[in-house]
Symmetry: C2
Subunit: 595 residues, 2 copies
Amino acid sequence: MPEYKAPLRDMNFVLNEVLNTEQHYQSLPGCEEATPDMVSAIMEEGAKFAERVLSPLNQVGDQQGCTWDDGAVITPEGFKEAYQQFVEGGWPSLAHETEYGGQGLPESLGILINEMVGTANWSWSMYPGLSHGAMNTLDAHGTEDQKQTYLTKLVSGEWTGTMCLTEPHCGTDLGMLRTKAEPQEDGSYKISGTKIFISAGEHDMADNIVHIVLARLPDAPEGTKGISLFIVPKHLPETLGEDNGVSCGSLEHKMGIHGNATCVMNFDNATGYLIGPANKGLNCMFTFMNTARLGTALQGLAHAEWGFQNSLVYAKDRLQMRALTGPARPDKPADPIIVHPEVRKMLLTQKAFAEGGRALIYYCAQLVDKVKLAEGEEKAQADALLAFLTPIAKAFLTEVGFESANHGLQIFGGHGFIAEWGMEQNVRDSRISMLYEGTTQIQALDLLGRKVLMTQGESLKGFTKILHKFCQAESDNADLAEFIKPLVELNKEWGDITMKVGMKAMQNRDEVGAASVDYLMYSGYAVLGYFWARMAKVAQEKLAAGEGDAAFYQAKINTAKFYFERILPRTRSLVVTMQSGADNLMSLEEEHFAF
Amino acid sequence: MPEYKAPLRDMNFVLNEVLNTEQHYQSLPGCEEATPDMVSAIMEEGAKFAERVLSPLNQVGDQQGCTWDDGAVITPEGFKEAYQQFVEGGWPSLAHETEYGGQGLPESLGILINEMVGTANWSWSMYPGLSHGAMNTLDAHGTEDQKQTYLTKLVSGEWTGTMCLTEPHCGTDLGMLRTKAEPQEDGSYKISGTKIFISAGEHDMADNIVHIVLARLPDAPEGTKGISLFIVPKHLPETLGEDNGVSCGSLEHKMGIHGNATCVMNFDNATGYLIGPANKGLNCMFTFMNTARLGTALQGLAHAEWGFQNSLVYAKDRLQMRALTGPARPDKPADPIIVHPEVRKMLLTQKAFAEGGRALIYYCAQLVDKVKLAEGEEKAQADALLAFLTPIAKAFLTEVGFESANHGLQIFGGHGFIAEWGMEQNVRDSRISMLYEGTTQIQALDLLGRKVLMTQGESLKGFTKILHKFCQAESDNADLAEFIKPLVELNKEWGDITMKVGMKAMQNRDEVGAASVDYLMYSGYAVLGYFWARMAKVAQEKLAAGEGDAAFYQAKINTAKFYFERILPRTRSLVVTMQSGADNLMSLEEEHFAF
């Protein structure tokens, strides 16, 4: 039976030893309550909930899935009760404003809880996850009235929320959406249309569901500039229990995340209310999408961590063959497979991505705090840096998360393919993360096209300056040289390639697309390289000072070495392919792909 | 509804234009009947069967799976009838000897049929696939009596076969197996033990199932030198219908290939007969394993081809966003997604692996013919070359097949995650290929440890000489220079690295393991580079001569360019990582992987 243990030691290392979270919270208004003791207590409670309540439901969710019964959706056994406990524990309100019933704790603290909850049971975590998205949207764009009516109920967890964007003929290209909103005399709207892929669109966990829906006003301009945002509750608050023309038409049969209900939602003259300005819905949505993308980046980390934990247990336990250097356990009929270099490589790859990904996400979470709470230059810088790092975190971490989940499965050999071990579920569940909230390809265009090239490289410089400063400060640190030297080279190369691709793109826009995914992955390896070097630095300092658990710090340094020698060199291929030009992709005629 | 169309044009290109199959058959004794007309007619019939009968059952098989009912196994709807048609069409007997009812056609011709059958419906193809393995084992090691009794029934397709190796506590490490064989006075044996992961172990398609079982004699030495091979039929031929103590205990619930029954098989004093010499079972088994590995390599090609075909249709059909260079279809609400460079990259990656993989497999299939039918030096060379190429074909093609299946899914965006499109089934079905018949890691140790280093590099030289000759012959061909130049460099580098790794391995055996998977993948990219260059050469010659369909040949050249500019550079990372040494994998203490 697979298990999840919250990696509190590592989480604390990143929070306290690498990212100085105490100082971060002290420097921001409104974070005073997030003292180290408070953070620690919340993490421990969150860990218990994730380990004891959610983790045992992970396989149940996969096996039972959700069932549709004449419009109603029944979630897997135990999901509803777990949600009740979650609400009773006050978890939904953690990082929301006190005036709407929240606990007013920083967003970054919420992300710690999301990590544990999501790693224990990703499908389950999506129910509160979608609520969180709806809450952020209401918080940013709703009227005071809307907040009092809807946000308070979402914050308390009594109701849940969704985001309704996709339609059968448009996912990425929201400009084509057709759902209509007819204005009514009372200021409300009648919403009609069909939305697909609506996660948590219908279920049995809460009394009401608040749908945030993208639709078109009758006089709206075509394309993305004619989209507005609406609140469309399953039941209108004034007539709870009555039908509001919102129904779940069916559930999708899908590869994974079976425990989460992926709904076709039909809106049939449903009453809704405009949020934010008319025809500016997509802009409002982007607020949400950025947090959702960071939330999905977390999924990459989740599946890497989960795969690592469970394949590590197996690698130590499974006896098969002897070590290449001779029997390691002559007392046993065979050696545990962890003696084999290639098994270790798969374990270390998962570990490097999980722990490196953790550092990147916690770092981004601090930027989210700053964007929300800091002011002036500090806020602007955090905003720009977050905009740069978000597509990298989302696409890169989900790609390597899927890779990691597959390594976890592979370590089990044939048993990895068998459902009971849970490794194949981890692979299936992780596969969606590269698709939703913008595919890897869309994130790559966002990064290279919109973020980097449209700012003439300023967006990239925001990060490479930080990397440069770090390298410069450590330039005399001989113990760190094996990490600093390749980072210095990479940092220069990163700028050079960006310039070259930018020049080519001025001649031919396809050059952006042709370089984009390789560029994003290159950037991801570079960013994680920075965090691994920072972690190695902290570990070396602790070792030198004789502080704490030497084995823990030594393992950090070993893993950093592994990352720099075995993972970072992947940039050597990407640097070639991303500069190979658009011609090798574009010159084949559409009708000549197959004969 | 996903579909499969046999790529006859491309199959013929590889067979006739690249590999000169006519000449190959003419040069071998016993292949006289395989004339071009005969080959072509068989391919066309095979294509019809695969497209019309098997392809429509592929999704059915996934959705229904197999069901276990008190020891009996019911295959998905239509599977049994399709098998009946397969038998009536004489397909099981194609590549088997005429004296046992076969058609005496070459093994390489059988592989063409396996490709089409397997790509249309991999799960179904495994039933005759396992029979084929049992037949080859009986053919090579059975007595005349055993052949007359069992082989004839397998050749006719009346019965099917299995290979029973794995036990719960041992898969890779067969030396630990416990199944017992007690000699009886009549020369037979009583077989007792439990085998797992037995593909096609029980089903409703045939009257009898011939299990080829690995077991231990009472006085057998420990480990791999004490394993013998037995025929254990479900029903004894003399008492058909009566129980022989062979039963299916349960079916595995697994990630994919749901249409194939993966059985736990219990042998309870079942009557069996020794095949081959006592205690030499594993040696006999290797005969089978090599063909099984080539059969699994085919699975990599199958999922790449299937993913390519179906994602190509979608990429041309799905309208979403505009081309980066401006609207390509202003008459439509959006452009088909094939206009996007990154979509094309995913299509071309699948195409390059499918078509390149086809060339590699057909080449290996000719070697199989030569090992079987040629003599003296020609046979010995073919044998050595096949031994070198088999782990590469198995592991490399299944790894890139899985990658390709994932690209196919990715092109569908969110829809790729939904069952009805079939793309996620293709991913799930493909995942097993890197596990069974020896994982990628085991193939890599076989290649680098057993094949290359144990022959002091002779095994590698067998291939690099061929590559060298080809490059030398084309050294003045300016049109081919873009392919020849990198191959020449790669060929030298390949030898150099092998030497370096070999030197390090003399100090520390773990260096072999630490380099092995990267070495195998490097070798795979190099081998496919050779075949892409050969295909480009043929295409250029045809274009120059104005022969045939120019668009087809131009597409070949474009795809070769794509391969050399976008795929082959992956070796640039591998060359670094495989030389980074064992220390970064081995130095972390087992107990310090997690805290």
